[in-house]
Amino acid sequence: MAGSFSVKFNGTITSNLHSDSFGSPNPVAFTQAAQGFHGETVIVGTTEEIMPTGDVNTIGYLYLRNLDTGNFVSWGPTFEGVMLPFGRLDPTGGEAWLRRNSALSAELRWKADTAPCKVQMKLFEA
């Protein structure tokens, strides 16, 4: 049975002489075609690892958050057997929120910079 996402994202950036805002004033709703979810806190090592997907068949939304306070985690798609750096989770709560392309995208990999990091991940069925 289909489920529904409700996501509200708001952000502001404030500098000395400039400010900007982004996001949506109201929650944005999306459907989840099939029930499926994989969530865990992963200890990401300093050698590339494949991001786990559990029993999720058709990969949909992905949420990541770096719980480590001193080290960042790089992530990206597998290209020719190795990680192609694409994103970075800064220490102390660095987040990423995106919807994977369920049919076409390569698996994701990640790697902590100088010491293993705990990363919270939530992966939803499309």
């Binding site: 708001n10 950036i13 000395n16 400039h18 949506s24 919807r99 392309n101």
Partner: protein, 132 residues
């Protein structure tokens, strides 16, 4: 002079017998070292022609916010790593923005090859790119 992001992502998934929450109920403060911003609404071309996202005068891309402003069912926007070496379809496709407000928020890795986008049908993309 550096700036500060204040970001709050709050989401809920509700199924018939399962609920999942993610994000945070409070704003998170993130320092910005540089002061650059690039903000635009761009027209994303149709596949198979992908295009590199403009970056304005951003020197080192940090956080990116993207939102699909188109509403048609066939106006999903695909995106992924840029660079000629990764242009072989479909390997460059990493994510998608669903019509009617599909969003993405992440920080680009300084070692990344940039960002390419394409759509099955011409779509409007709001993008905000911030200096690292």
């Amino acid at each position: 002079m550096s700036g500060t992001f204040s970001v709050r992502l709050e989401g809920t998934l509700t199924n018939e017998h399962h609920t999942e929450k993610f994000g945070s109920s409070v704003n998170k403060l993130i320092p910005q070292t540089g002061q650059g911003v690039y903000s635009a609404i761009v027209s994303v071309p149709t596949s198979p022609t992908m295009s590199s996202l403009p970056t304005g005068d951003i020197h080192s891309i940090g956080y990116i916010y993207m939102k699909n402003l188109s509403t048609g069912n066939n106006q999903t926007i695909l995106y992924g790593p840029g660079g000629a070496g990764y242009s072989t379809y479909p390997y460059w496709i990493l994510g998608e923005l669903q019509p009617s407000g599909g969003e993405a928020w992440f920080k680009m890795d300084p070692n990344s090859s940039g960002l390419n986008v394409e759509a099955a049908y011409t779509a409007l993309l709001q993008i905000k790119m911030f200096e690292a």
